[in-house]
């Protein structure tokens, strides 16, 4: 093996919780070579963060390393003592974290936090350290290094903070850079900038990079090799081009099929079920219960890691050597999903909508306050059976807009006509009737479901408010719960007993149970895994086809919007930049901001040499 830089061998890690041992990673192996970029992709529970922190030998107190070694220049990091690790961390292996806001010390200026790495490892101090820090800040494309040096983290934007983290990691020219979801916490445009920064840096520096992300598109932009983690198991590892074009593991295939693409509308297929967390799952194939190609052997024997003939490509599947077996699933067809909806009567007409907030020192109501216009003069139309997507970054006003449609915002100017009537002029009875017909689904299912209520109570409450009798409620709740893909066993469960996808289904059931005409979806799939996202989108389209309702979809994810929207409204700083039929916005965007947003979406196709 030509000069392996970091060699992770057979790493198995479990966590001890409540007396039980919960395995998080099983026989994970990865060899990193100088200068290469390895992307580790996985959904929640895949163990990717554990693998990364293990590489720094920074595991929590209740973690047990069951087996394995992590070799760096001959020594096993897992068995090294703190003083040895202190010479390696930050100097030879450096890490970049997901949330730059919390990862920086709020009470120290940013420059000092970078300079202390130089002082600690390279003995560089004073003026020399300051100069070198300025150089680093320039390297990560930050203007005015002296100003940034003297700034506290809260005085910098999210993107700037992440650049500072990158500068800090690069300070000592490490051999290995570990990146844990470095762009996830950032806005879409900023994400693109940081990704391109990393790409250009990689060309300049010699470090090897391990890039962990749940976003396959981001990984595809950078990685030479890609490893796919599922439920603690490395199910596939190989050259990026091969993995993306012809994956050799059913989970990888499923994952790629579930990722929405900006290029065109196509059939989005999710992977039914949820990743198993059973401690005993490693006695057989971890993916068996969700795989479309499972046979008996998959459920009884753990598949070996098979080396594929193409070289440098492994897959943990019983059928890895017989790729034709896992290529086509029964009933799988290519083709467009989400057929364009027929245009219906206008349901919602909004004109001149503006919302203003007052923000300022609240000292007993005295003192100056600033007026913030969250929504500025927005107008649009939504017809039945149509999907209108409102896209924008954070602060664009899209969520505020959604709330005005349910009369959740107090200071609203403009007109909102529902079937020709102004909702702001409704009296109590009209409002009640309106609230039956317009529902909302929130982004975070953990936060939107009251943790103390059972599924039956949650879904039944909107009906109870309408005065529906208990018997009829039971019927309708049962029917709706089944319609969203859950079953009667879920009725008595509490939210904490459900997975993320199941919780969101409950939120959908709660919205659908009153048979609404308008459903507002505020980032309904953002908090979910990609494979689950696709199933929820499928569900939403089914429901629309069946009931003829209309959707107002709020999202920052243009790829998702591409798959389902009929019309698109692009918002920025509260105002509409551009609006029109989806096909047009995606293929011929006019406004530069729209163009920037579209360009920022990381594509699964490999970038051409540029």
């Amino acid at each position: 093996m030509p000069d392996a830089l970091l060699d992770i061998q057979d790493l198995s890690v479990s966590f001890v919780a409540g007396g039980r041992s919960l395995p998080a990673l099983r026989e994970f192996g990865l060899t990193l070579h100088p200068g290469e970029v390895v992307g580790l992709v996985g959904e929640s529970g895949s163990g990717k963060s554990t693998a990364l922190l293990a590489a720094m030998s920074y595991l929590p107190d209740n973690a047990r390393v069951e087996s394995g070694r992590i070799l760096y220049r001959g020594s096993d990091l897992l068995r090294a003592d703190r003083s040895t690790l202190d010479t390696i961390r930050g100097r030879r292996i450096a890490m970049i974290y997901q949330d730059p806001t919390t990862a920086l010390n709020p009470a120290m200026i940013v420059g000092a936090q970078i300079a202390e790495v130089l002082r600690q490892h390279l003995g560089v101090d004073g003026e020399a350290a300051r100069r070198r820090t300025h150089e680093l800040l320039r390297l990560v494309q930050l203007d005015d290094p002296p100003r940034v040096y003297a700034a506290y983290p809260h005085q910098l934007s999210g993107g700037m903070r992440q650049r500072v983290m990158i500068a800090m990691a690069l300070a000592c020219d490490p051999d290995v850079l570990l990146m844990d979801e470095p762009t996830t916490a950032l806005d879409v445009l900023v994400q693109a900038h940081v990704l391109s920064l990393v790409k250009s840096l990689h060309r300049q520096i010699e470090s090897a990079i391990v890039f962990v992300s749940h976003n396959l598109g981001a990984v595809a932009q950078l990685a030479d090799r890609i490893g796919v983690l599922y439920a603690g198991e490395l199910v596939e590892l190989g050259p990026a081009a091969q993995i993306l074009d012809d994956p050799q593991h059913p989970y990888t295939r499923g994952l790629i099929a579930a990722v929405p693409q900006l290029a065109a509308r196509r059939l989005l297929r999710g992977i039914p079920g949820t990743a198993s967390r059973e401690p005993s799952r490693f006695t057989h194939c971890v993916f068996a219960d969700r795989c479309a190609f499972t046979v008996d052997r998959c459920r009884t024997t753990r598949p070996p890691l098979v080396e594929l003939p193409s070289g440098g490509h492994t897959s943990r599947c019983h059928f890895a050597a017989e790729p034709w077996r896992i290529r086509t699933a029964p009933g799988e067809t290519a083709g467009t999903a989400a057929t364009p909806s027929v245009s219906g009567d206008p349901l919602l007409e909004v004109s001149g909508l503006s919302v203003e907030y007052r923000r300022g020192p609240a000292f007993l109501g005295l003192g100056r306050s600033r007026a913030i216009r969250a929504v500025r003069d927005v107008s649009f139309r939504l017809a039945r059976q149509r999907v209108l997507a409102v896209v924008g970054e954070s602060g664009s006003g899209k969520s505020t807009l959604a709330r005005t449609l349910l009369r959740l915002e107090p200071k609203v100017q403009g007109q909102i006509l529902f079937e020709g009537e102004d909702i702001n002029a409704f009296d109590a009875a009209d409002l009640r009737a309106y609230r039956r017909r317009a529902q909302i689904v929130f982004q975070n299912p953990t936060s939107s479901l009251n943790p103390r209520k059972t599924v039956a109570e949650l879904v039944g409450r909107p009906l109870a408010l309408l005065g529906v009798t208990s018997a009829e409620r039971q019927d309708r709740v049962g029917a709706t719960v089944r319609a969203v893909g859950l079953s009667d066993v879920h009725l008595d469960r509490l939210p904490e007993q459900l997975s993320g996808g199941e919780k969101q289904r409950v939120a959908l059931a709660r919205a659908f149970v009153t048979e609404p005409d308008l459903v507002i979806l505020d980032e309904p799939t953002t908090a979910l895994d990609v494979s689950v996202q696709a199933t929820i989108l499928e569900l939403l389209l089914e429901q629309k086809a069946r009931t003829g309702c209309a959707y107002l979809l709020i999202s920052h994810d243009l790829a998702v919007v591409r798959q389902v929207a009929d019309e698109v409204l692009v918002m920025r700083d509260g105002a509409v930049c551009e609006g029109g039929p989806a096909e047009q916005i995606f293929t011929h965007p006019v406004h530069p901001y729209t163009r920037d947003l579209l360009a920022a979406v990381p594509d699964l196709r490999r970038p051409s040499a540029s």
């Binding site: 920074y58 974290y97 010390n105 709020p106 009470a107 490892h121 000292f363």
Partner: protein
């Protein structure tokens, strides 16, 4: 900008004091019990009662009485003590210095003990050191002052050891040695309680800091734990400690009441117990107000210090 912040904070403090005085006044006047009857006794004639009421100003309306009282405060006039027939303000002022001596000493000693111990416990969480420190703090909190005090009196102020006085007071002008000697036991009792309290809060604050992301970053930069603790953790942990110390001033003032009573130490605490027992309203009001004011001032100072140390507030 800083000036505006300070002004706002001082203003808030003044408002707190105003509300405080209103509440104190309400407690002592709105509840049943007539001061005149309390002073003259049940057998007094209606004329005598009426005369006394006029003399005490009790025949005015409540708001008028309140404003009258409030108006006198800035000049130190708290009304006249009904049992001692002296200006309440003078009595309170005399005692205030004594209580302040106790409080300041206790605060200094407790902080000096609790903060290092709390930090050490957090840094070695789960170890035996941590366990014993925690256990000691539980003991400190659990045993009330009126149990610790008699025990200390038995051991240190009675034969056979008996080298400390068990009660009383000697002004520093008469004998510094005597003054200090009479303070030792009360301070010991107060310190044991306050240290335990402060210790637990410091420990819990430090644990939170040590679990934060930026401490993780510091460790993964290859900084030795000593540096992580001193340069990264403490800086953030200590700003919280300031808030905590200010909160504990209130706790301290409460304990002072009992401790002064036990040791017959002439301070505000003993005064308020006497005043309540004898229903001497002007004295009750005045003392309660001063005690509350100490807390308000401590908190304002703590807020200002906290803001000065917190870059998010100092440099937005």
């Amino acid at each position: 900008m800083a000036v505006a912040f300070v002004a706002r904070r001082l203003g808030a403090g003044l408002i707190s004091l105003a509300i405080l005085s209103a509440i104190i006044f309400a407690c002592t006047h709105v509840l049943p019990g007539d001061a005149a009857t309390a002073i003259l006794g049940e057998g007094a004639t209606p004329e005598a009662l009426a005369a006394l009421r006029t003399q005490l100003g009790l025949d005015r309306s409540l708001p008028a009485q309140f404003l009258g009282w409030l108006g006198g405060i800035p000049v130190g006039a708290f009304g006249t003590s009904t049992t001692l027939n002296q200006p309440a303000g003078a009595i309170i002022a005399e005692r205030f210095g004594n209580s302040l001596a106790l409080a300041a000493t206790t605060l200094a000693v407790a902080t000096a003990l609790a903060i290092p111990l709390g930090v050490a416990a957090a840094a070695h969480r789960g170890s035996r050191l941590d366990g014993s420190i925690l256990a000691a703090s539980y003991v400190g909190i659990a045993i009330p002052d009126f149990v610790v005090a008699p025990l200390l009196i038995v051991f240190l102020a009675s034969p056979p050891l008996g080298f400390l006085p068990s009660s009383g007071f000697v002004p520093p002008t008469a004998s510094v040695g005597g003054w200090l000697a009479h303070m030792v036991l009360p301070v010991l009792v107060l310190t044991s309680l306050l240290t335990a309290h402060l210790l637990r809060q410091t420990r819990s604050g430090m644990l939170e800091v040590l679990a934060s992301d930026y401490v993780r970053t510091a460790r993964l930069k290859g900084l030795p734990e000593r540096v992580v603790l001193w340069r990264h953790a403490l800086r953030n942990g200590l700003t919280t400690t300031i808030t905590v110390v200010a909160l504990d001033v209130g706790y301290l003032m409460g304990s002072i009441v009992i401790v002064e009573e036990i040791f017959a130490y002439p301070g505000l605490g003993r005064l308020i117990v006497y005043a309540v027992a004898n229903r001497d309203m002007p004295l009750v009001q005045g003392t309660a107000l001063v005690i509350g004011a100490v807390y308000v001032v401590a908190n304002v100072l703590a807020d200002l210090a906290h803001a000065a140390l917190n870059p998010r507030v100092a440099r937005p």
